[in-house]
């Protein structure tokens, strides 16, 4: 009951979606369309679930006084502020429960939700990933060695692309005459991207695609059940 029925549902749903590709006629075509519409709503609930479980996990951590627990209070508070602002005064386009007075708009220049998003979140999020620029530089220096033919090839391709894909590439080899145009760094980089890179990526794409097909099939046929939790 707890495992059999979900497996049967998965089978019918998966099979219906596949069959509707080849048989557009009713009932297959329209059933699969409604099913996809339902998916949107269910996935909406799944996102809500994600945020609520984050809330729950943080409460548990605080309750159990897990290491660094005071920090989790900050996460909870910022989550709550964001949700309250969003519900009460709405977002840029959405009206909230309360009327947003001109006084408030004049004060912040925008709604509170958008203010937090623009000044706090955008900066936090952008900075978080720009940290990687530094790590990238130090990792390139400390860990990337031409130890084998493979890694040598990797490094050469990387350097050529890094040169060719910036303005410095076109400046460095801009003097090369037209007849030797293939030596121009941007052209070399374009060639690498268009042919050997595409070949490698395509091989990966085809093999990974087959992998996805295999696992989808296993899921639909009920052979792969790890998504149901446990073995």
């Amino acid at each position: 009951m707890r495992r059999q029925i979900p497996m049967i549902i998965t089978f019918f749903v998966g099979a219906l979606i596949i069959v509707s590709e080849f048989i557009p006629h009713r009932p297959f075509g329209n059933l699969s369309t409604s099913l996809e519409g339902w998916f949107l709503i269910i996935s909406g609930f799944a996102i809500i679930l994600g945020q609520l479980s984050l809330f729950k996990v943080n409460i548990i951590k605080i309750h159990r006084k897990a290491p660094n627990w005071p920090y989790f209070i900050i996460a909870l508070v910022s989550f709550s502020i964001m949700v309250i602002c969003g519900i009460l005064w709405g977002t840029q386009q959405q009206p909230g429960l309360l009327h947003t007075s001109d006084k408030m708009l004049n004060f912040f220049g925008m709604k509170p939700f958008d203010y937090i998003f623009k000044y706090m979140f955008e900066n936090l999020s952008a900075t978080m990933f720009s940290l990687l620029a530094f790590f990238m530089a130090s990792a390139s220096y400390r860990a990337f060695r031409a130890r084998s033919p493979e890694s040598t090839l990797l490094l050469i391709a990387a350097v050529l692309v890094m040169l060719g894909r910036t303005t410095i590439g076109s400046t460095l080899t801009g003097w090369i005459p037209e007849s030797l145009g293939f030596l121009h760094l941007p052209n070399i980089a374009s060639f690498i991207m268009k042919y050997p890179n595409t070949a490698g990526q395509r091989a990966i794409m085809i093999c990974a695609g087959l992998g996805v097909i295999g696992s989808s099939l296993r899921i639909i046929l009920g052979i792969e059940r790890s998504y149901l939790g446990g073995k």
Binding site: G37, L40, Q94, S125, Y141, R145, V159, R165, I168
Partner: protein, 281 residues
């Protein structure tokens, strides 16, 4: 040999500092290296250029502030080009934060185009979850996927949405994408299932994995990859902006990194014979 030893042990804080300076200084004093337009960027430009005025195009904002520096300039340039050509934009987002990114881009661009009206030339339909499944649903029943715009107003109220039931009446689709769900899913559904042209702007991280789609079947018509792609596009529409300004900094930072890779490898080869490392292969 001492010097090579030193090559291997430069303090990482020095590297951090150099990268910081390498990016900051060219931002303050620009060097003005020249820029060349590549084939894939040109194709995206041509795609829009060849559409008839009044055609509706779908642009999806599938990114968030973490990749804003790379993708926002593309969004702005594409909007500028579209409004200049009198194309009409239907905006969607598969990432919730894409809605705000779209609003910000529209605010910037619409100031230059006073006769562009919301609901007639542009509409922001907001965020939908579900990735590929939802795109597939739009393709069959656009109006039930998007009963309302991002502000909750029914789409029947807007002239731009007249007659849009699926992708049939849409000229082309452009996904500005920073990952999953994004361009890959749009290619799979909009082009490979429903045969409409798809173009894309992605982060540089994504670009190499998307290139196999740029082929003679035109799964992807063209691709703007990272800040360089954005800068090339700014050059094409002749409106230099953030991306163009960043190109010098980008070049200098790349040079610094290449230099460090070289130093590291010289040090490695010069000192390798002294201490053999266990060969794992």
């Amino acid at each position: 040999m001492k010097i090579f030893e030193k090559f291997l042990h430069i303090d990482r804080r020095i590297i951090f500092l150099l990268i910081l300076l390498g990016v900051a200084i060219p931002l303050i004093w620009t060097l003005g290296f020249n820029l060349e337009v590549t084939e894939n960027v040109q194709s995206v430009y041509d795609l829009l250029q060849n559409l008839e005025p009044g055609t509706r195009i779908l642009i999806s904002f599938d990114y968030d502030p973490s990749t804003k520096p790379e993708i926002q300039p593309m969004a702005i340039s594409l909007m500028q080009q579209a409004f200049t050509l009198r194309l009409r934009i239907i905006a969607t987002a598969l990432w919730p934060m894409g809605v705000q990114m779209c609003n910000e881009a529209y605010e910037t661009v619409s100031a230059e185009y006073p006769d562009v009206k919301y609901g007639i030339d542009f509409i922001n339909l907001g965020y939908k979850s579900g990735g590929m499944v939802t795109i597939n649903h739009m393709a069959k029943d656009f109006r039930s996927t998007f009963p309302a715009d991002a502000g909750g107003n029914p789409i029947d109220e807007f002239p731009i949405m007249k007659g849009i039931k699926n992708f049939d009446k849409i000229g082309c689709m452009i996904s500005l994408s920073a990952g999953d769900p994004g361009l890959k899913q749009w290619v799979m559904i909009v082009h490979d299932t429903f045969g409409k042209p798809v173009a894309g702007g992605t982060t540089a991280v994504q670009a190499p994995t998307m290139l196999p789609y740029v082929n003679e079947q035109q799964q992807l018509v063209g691709l703007l990859g990272g800040l360089k792609g954005a800068a090339e596009y700014e050059l094409l529409i002749n409106k230099p902006g953030f991306a163009t300004k960043g190109m010098d900094a980008q070049s200098v930072a790349h040079l610094i990194i290449i230099l460090f890779i070289l130093i590291g490898n010289i040090g490695y080869f010069a000192t390798r014979k002294q201490k053999p490392k266990l060969e794992a292969k």
